[in-house]
Amino acid sequence: MLEHVLNGLYYGSILFMIASGMTIIFGVLGILNLAHGELYALGAFSAFSIIGFVAGQVAAPTGPVTAIVFGVVVLAGSLATAAVLLPVGGALEAAFIRPIYDRDEVYQLLLTYGLLLVLTDVMKFVWGPSPVDLGVFGGINEIPTTELVGIDYPSYNVFVILIGIAVFAWLVWFFDRTKTGRIVRATAINREMSTAIGISTDRMFTLVFAIGAFFAGFGGAMVSIGPGSASLGMGLDWLVLSFVVIVIGGLGSLNGAFVGSMLVGVSSRVVTPYYPQLELAVPFLLMVLVLLLKPEGLYGAWGEIQ
């Protein structure tokens, strides 16, 4: 059982990294970014190139010291990967999304769907049509983290869970404690009045979209480093799952996205062995259930980051 829960937390952590970006973008820009899954896929592909290159510079681990070196190198690589998504996200926002903020929200859906299709083919152009696999997963699992505390569980999963928690903590700190974070929230709430107190909303929006892309990319890197591979179309399922997460948690709520991710992660992992046919449906059933009991989601905040 413990292992199932851990598996769920692992899964939930990756989901959180994707869904949190989506939540932030939705909360601040009011855009349901259908291309978000592709940003995540882009992260996975970029990780293949960047981490592949970086990890190639050090040998695979043989002892504790080399293991730590290896782990640090891979972590640095995934940060670098996510950093690539910053300008990509910023550029997409400035060039395509900015002109349509004032339009009916359905056009935003159509536009981001268009971006989704274009991004898919950009990745196809750069990395080819077949999946690519980074292949440093085994190396990371040789880092003996879990044996040290006496449980036998893949180091990588623990690593991802920790990163998920760290990302959550950072985001909460950023939006709740820092001035910039609260300025971003203000922008989310009322664009015009933000302008009227001296906030450059354009730049805030670009920044927020870039941050959202950053975490999507980070999530992508995590999957790519992990047992999965980067493939075209990998973003679609996660996109739909992130919808589920942000609805369960409450739109625009970071706490909600975190709790939602973990709930989806853990429940699907715990239910699957007993009711295998439900594996696909669990997140959606959970979503229906939550919404029927609590229509605004667990931490419903209607478009505000909190």
């Binding site: 910053l86 910023g90 268009g114 989704l116 274009v118 083919d121 354009d202 670009t206 919808f243």
Partner: protein, 380 residues
Amino acid sequence: MSRFLVDRDGETHLRLAEGMELTKNQAVLAAVGLVALLIVPDITRFTPLSFTAIHRGILFGLAAVGLNLLLRHTELVSFGHAAFFGVGAYAAAVLASQFDVSSGLLMLLGSVLAATAISVLIGYFVAGYLDIYFALLTLAFNQVLYAFVLQSGYFNYSDGLNVRPDGLNPPALFGLQLSSTGYELVLYYLTVVVLVVSLLVMWKLVNSPFGRALDAIGQNRTRARFVGIPVEKYVWVAFVISGIYGGLAGGLFALLQLHVSPEPTLYAFVSGEILFMAILGGFGTLVGPVIGGVVLVYLLVQAPFYIEYYNALTGLMLLAVVLFLPEGILGSIPKIGTGLSRRRRDPGLLREDVATIGSSLRRGVSRAATTVRIIVFGVN
């Protein structure tokens, strides 16, 4: 003035029935559209255009017309319309393969009934929700249904069911057991009839007090409630009507495709596509969704045969529509019309257009570059 021509605000309107009137331009467009629909089979015979792709597009367009009732009037974005489309398709398939029903029309009836039932059920749960919650809740029901069908042996899992009562031949239409080309033609004209009737019904509906009540609900729910409109009930009714359109389209799809499997009929992205068809064609219009359906389906189905980067082609085209045809394809026709006639008079404008597009592109790029520079390097 004759029985069919009436004068309103100094313009001659063509009067079809009580409360159904068309302006001159609309009448011409409608006539052209109808003729185009009728001669599609002939056109495709002499051109490389694909008949089935257009047929398929019209079907999806019909579903999009139904979805548009929610989108345009109650201002609810349904992300789960494939639920009805899929249920409609599966109803036909189940009748054919599990109950050996051989009449195509009976299958369609089954589609409508099944879609009604499922939309009554889903509608009951979602009618009270708004905005993105509505969108995502419909999506959730859609996915639950998808997962259910995918897991169910009765529906033959991911492989789906055949819509061939005897295993090999298509169902009978109007009691006729037709050859494959004959079947396609008859089915096509059946589709056209269904489409035209559905459009007329929808037209009538949205121009009735009930349609206005839906508009009112879309624009301000609280106020609608406080003028005495039972909001949830009406949304529910609209939802069911919209679902019936979806089911009908799904049933026709089953008859066309003769095989129904979960992914192309029930998956969440089919819902998305139906939604995008409505927007693409112009969701502020009655017929726009049909056009959007034909265009989007055609692109999705045919582009892979011609270019390697077919997704990008579709994507770029959608971007172009959003940025340059702000009301969708049909919705923008009036503007394009006046724009064109102005340009015919003053060709200089054309040069300006090119310049504007060029400079707006340049602006977009430089804007993107600046912002990115600021974010990455922090320099202002």
